[in-house]
Symmetry: C3
Subunit: 211 residues, 3 copies
């Protein structure tokens, strides 16, 4: 990875954790949680995916244990959302765009970490998915909702496509920065198009009782 | 453990993870999840119990990190369930039988792993229970249900009985294969009888408010 | 830490895990769980916070793996609650007092463990909060509720105040026992006053749809 690429990825990572903390605050607000709940749900959502990945891969210390400022940044972003939320419906598109950036950035970072641990291809893709998607799952579970991940427009699919392009690009010999750029651009576009046109996977509807 | 026993246990393990992935798909279908949700809920349900056990015991790498094919097998089994689900009510009894096999096989494997780590008796039993039961708990939590484990017919009880017979049998000097066979046969029978006759533990009903 | 203080903290810890197991049983009873569910929810609630903390900090073995008797004590306490629950509304105030002791004791113990691992200040406070609060979150999630933590009177706030006083007291040069005593007394008082007068954090209410 070039120094420039590492720098941009770090900047994007900070944007991504802030964006995810903002989504957490908005979901918390829809459940009328108190300010402390909002302040906690921000870090859990923004840092939860990477934490679960590291715990599953046996990788320590976790990112926020090494960089405690991430806890403050994400808790602060969630709390700041309370102040600006009344203007947020004007910002809905920006918000969804930032959230999509979060998804592809987390995915690429998650793939990177598994590659650095010399994991096989499938685990690299899974590591990207876990990093990209689990934070939102934790957010929804703590709000006693069926996680959006399991119901919504191509969210996990975007993560897989991004991961496969990123890893596959490097396997076929693309420079790292090119593979990163292509994977993130395609993933981001796919997510925005899915939101714009309401693309979704077919549903599986099963109505028999099991027990 | 004899080579034969290890071989049979491995075959039973593969049957068990497929059976659990199928249960996950059916529960997902009742919640109208999309295909990607089904493909993810399969591995989480089938491999989640063993993963939680390993994370709690500090044992790495996790089984699916070492054998990524388990991810593909369980995701594939869950997706295949979509295709065959319309015929599934004919297969309900087979399904419940496979699920019960999963419970006792996971329990014995979980006990084995704790024994190999020289854990005390109670932790061995707990390891069996976690392996046998937690996957289904994760499945139900992700579907925003009260986990069946906490409400249903002797599920956890079967896991404890299986574990105690398996470990106890070896303590009193039974050959490993005999202890395995007896534990699994009794556990399986108990589960099938509980399903057949609706056996259940007494319920604790408390109606005062706490807060 | 003086030997006396370590001894009292151990006694308080045992009281705390019993108190948390009792809260778990009562919540389980409100959901009409069976006896086995009650017996499992007790240990999960009482020992879950410390377990999540240790998993996140990469600290093994977990306390209950090292002391399996904690599993029996907490399962036993939860089961005993079934027998005495009919008299429990007379004990409501004692129960809330014990639960508050659990919160501050768990918090101090969680801070201690992070200090012993030479963690920075923010992680020490977070370790206290996780130890103090996560068990109740797991309990509520397993009952498919929005965790009380995110909705209720100053629960997490009490944990932060206790942790900051405990660590801050030592930083400004108070003897360890004095810092412990002050932190726990203030935390406990704050919680009891919050319950008595219904103090709570302001709520964040957001009603726009996000998706």
């Amino acid at each position: 990875m070039s120094l420039d690429a590492a720098y941009y990825l770090q900047v994007l990572y900070l944007i991504a954790i802030v964006a995810e903390a903002v989504t957490a605050a908005l979901v918390a607000g829809r459940r009328s949680m108190d300010w402390m709940g909002v302040a906690m749900l921000g870090p859990i959502t923004a840092l939860g995916g990477g934490s679960v990945r590291d715990v599953l891969l046996g990788r320590h210390p976790l990112s926020w244990v090494e960089h405690p400022s991430y806890l403050l940044i994400t808790a602060g972003a969630a709390l700041a959302t309370i102040a600006v939320a009344r203007y947020m419906h004007h910002l809905r598109k920006l918000f969804l765009f930032l959230d999509a950036i979060g998804l592809v950035v987390f995915t690429v970072i998650g793939c990177n970490i598994a590659i650095a641990m010399h994991m096989p291809f499938i685990i690299v893709i899974a590591s990207g998915m876990i990093t990209g998607c689990v934070g939102g799952v934790l957010r929804d579970m703590l709000c006693a909702d069926i996680p959006l991940l399991f119901r919504t427009e191509l969210y996990a699919t975007v993560s897989i496509v991004t991961g496969v392009l990123y890893v596959g690009g490097q396997i076929v010999g693309l420079p790292h920065d090119a593979a990163t750029g292509i994977a993130m651009a395609v993933g981001l576009s796919l997510r925005m198009l899915a939101l714009r046109y309401g693309w979704s996977m077919p549903k599986f509807v099963y109505t028999h009782t099991l027990h």
